[in-house]
Symmetry: C2
Subunit: 349 residues, 2 copies
């Protein structure tokens, strides 16, 4: 059933039927009612390809995921983020078009999707320092929003970010207040902007108290469980091991925990741990009381909000000013932090 058939069935023009269905005010109420009823009865739905061509709107948002050997963006955090974004899209009649590409094709893919009109806008994941996608998309004049920010980028752009610097500063402050003096950092990949800012917060907290940071305590990598595990073993084998660790995510924190257990260290007593908790739905930070002390911000909520902001931009005038939103993470106290005991963790052979 298409428009033509439906309208001839009703004895009306395609124009009237189309306008009736699209809520224009220039069709009589009784006519609209007839049309709507007939559409429902015959299960008529406008062909979205034709609609897209006629309106110039694809009603879809592009998410481009680069594939590389080492860097894996399709991860847990990403999954929750798009779940949130997708909720926002559905609510506004848009949907999510996801394409994974070899990293070398990434730019070309943005260009293709924009120039072929396959999408109305882009969601940008995992921005790096001075992310070149920003300039590209500004030049292409296509709406987009960053989840995160891009340090050292002097182009205008819209973003939503959690205050990673203050989150990590607060985490370190808490540990220093507890008497810890050797705090390790298990950061994410420091090509990523969020990791850069987290390191800044980590550093700032130390600086404000006039503390030097031992470079051997600072690590950066993809946030996997083995990364947490192995780095912790390495750290604890140092001549002066840390008494506390700040980790960039719950997953490496689990690795830290495993290493601690193996070494006979009790988390929260012999070793304090604070992690960033993205509040992933299927990977809660404990049930009830938080397992880990954490700086928490729901990445799913962020996705939902980013989706809404992006669609607002798509539907706004081309020259609408950029929007920015900075979220503060919440600091939740769990069982993984405690005072520094005697300046050295208790060791058991």
């Amino acid at each position: 059933m298409n428009l033509k058939e439906l309208s001839s069935l009703l004895g009306l023009s395609q124009t009237t039927v189309s306008r009736a269905l699209n809520g224009y005010s220039d069709v009589k109420a009784s006519t609209r009612a007839r049309v709507v009823a007939a559409a429902k009865e015959h299960n008529y739905l406008p062909n979205s390809r034709a609609q897209a061509l006629a309106t110039g709107r694809a009603m879809s948002i592009g998410h481009i995921i680069p594939r590389t050997a080492q860097h894996e963006l399709v991860n847990t955090i990403f999954a929750d983020f798009i779940a949130g974004a997708s909720e926002a899209y559905s609510a506004r009649g848009y949907d999510l078009r996801m394409v994974t590409v070899k990293d070398v094709d990434e730019f070309a893919t943005y260009e293709r999707l924009a120039n072929t009109g396959a999408v109305d806008g882009f969601m940008l994941h995992g921005p790096t320092r001075d992310d070149k996608r920003i300039q590209l998309l500004n030049d292409l004049k296509v709406p987009f929003i960053l989840h995160g920010r891009s340090s050292d980028c002097n182009q205008p752009y819209s973003w939503l970010d959690v205050n990673n610097r203050s989150a990590f500063k607060r985490a370190v402050d808490l540990l220093l207040d507890l008497g810890h003096t050797r705090v390790a950092l298990l950061n994410g990949d420091e090509n990523m902007d969020f990791a850069i800012r987290r390191r800044e917060g980590f550093t700032l907290a130390h600086e404000q108290r006039g503390l030097e940071i031992d470079p051997s305590l600072m690590h950066s990598n993809e946030m996997s469980e083995p990364y947490g595990f192995e780095t912790t073993r390495q750290l604890m084998a140092l001549d002066a091991p840390p008494t506390a660790i700040v980790a960039s995510a719950l997953i490496p924190a689990l690795g830290i925990q495993r290493a601690a257990h193996e070494l006979g260290l009790k988390i929260g007593r012999d070793l304090s741990v604070i992690c960033f908790d993205d509040a992933l739905s299927y990977f809660p930070n404990g049930s009830g009381a938080p397992l880990f002390t954490a700086t928490r911000s729901s990445v799913r909520d962020a996705g939902r909000r980013c989706g809404t902001l992006l669609i607002d931009r798509i539907e706004a005038a081309d020259d609408a000013p950029v929007v920015t939103e900075l979220w503060e993470a919440e600091l939740v106290i769990g069982g993984s932090t405690g005072p520094n005991l005697a300046g050295m963790p208790r060791r058991e052979a």
Copy 2:
């Protein structure tokens, strides 16, 4: 730049330019070369909305994700699966259209996407016993494929599944061979078909040796870390606790591990654990030697293969026979399994 502009620029008809670009043999080689060069030079790309309307092909695959209060499909496993599928799509020029819907709207959304021609086919996630989506999509005459199977469904359908029954049977066989007699099951949500089959394998292994299963050893839930943790605590508090556990995923296995540590039990000595390992890229089962003994099958590979099979079906004749593929999981021996010591795990106060 559109077709019309490009062709007038070249002094050719739209027909010829279009056919040149689409590789038809009725255009002179030198003409094609000119056209291709000009297209490249002017950065011409056909408008995909117009193309979709003219060809009747959306070049996109639908993934519909229901949202419910309890059941969360957008999880880790799902993320890796779509990453794989998406690779297959990109390779064939398709992309992935994902929409999350309230569970009550799920069927209507399949219908809408199919009837509006927004997608060319569907990927079905997380099939249940007698999954009603199969009949719906068969009636709609739209290509689709299941990742998994649907017990008790007598409709024809294409699927790719890992042999969950044999995987769990082998896991239990191994434990029984090691002398364990009380083996617990931490299954996934038993509304899901994969969980049903895993339980069958679990049961079958016992039956073949004439062993009764204590119902209090069998659990079923969403596969989260706290689920593994709490269930293990519960199990170990029984009068006759199990000496081995089979878990449906790595994530609850981590919870098992945490509980074991808390109880002073050493995994692989006091408590044996085997889990199903979906080989998630960012959540490896240890690095190097496997952490857990596991039945392993890459869900990402499955996604890639499902994507290819689905596109094959989309591009094949409407009456092409269904395709099915059953993968055997690999059994990898890690450090989490060992012989049953004295029939009772060592307990430490």
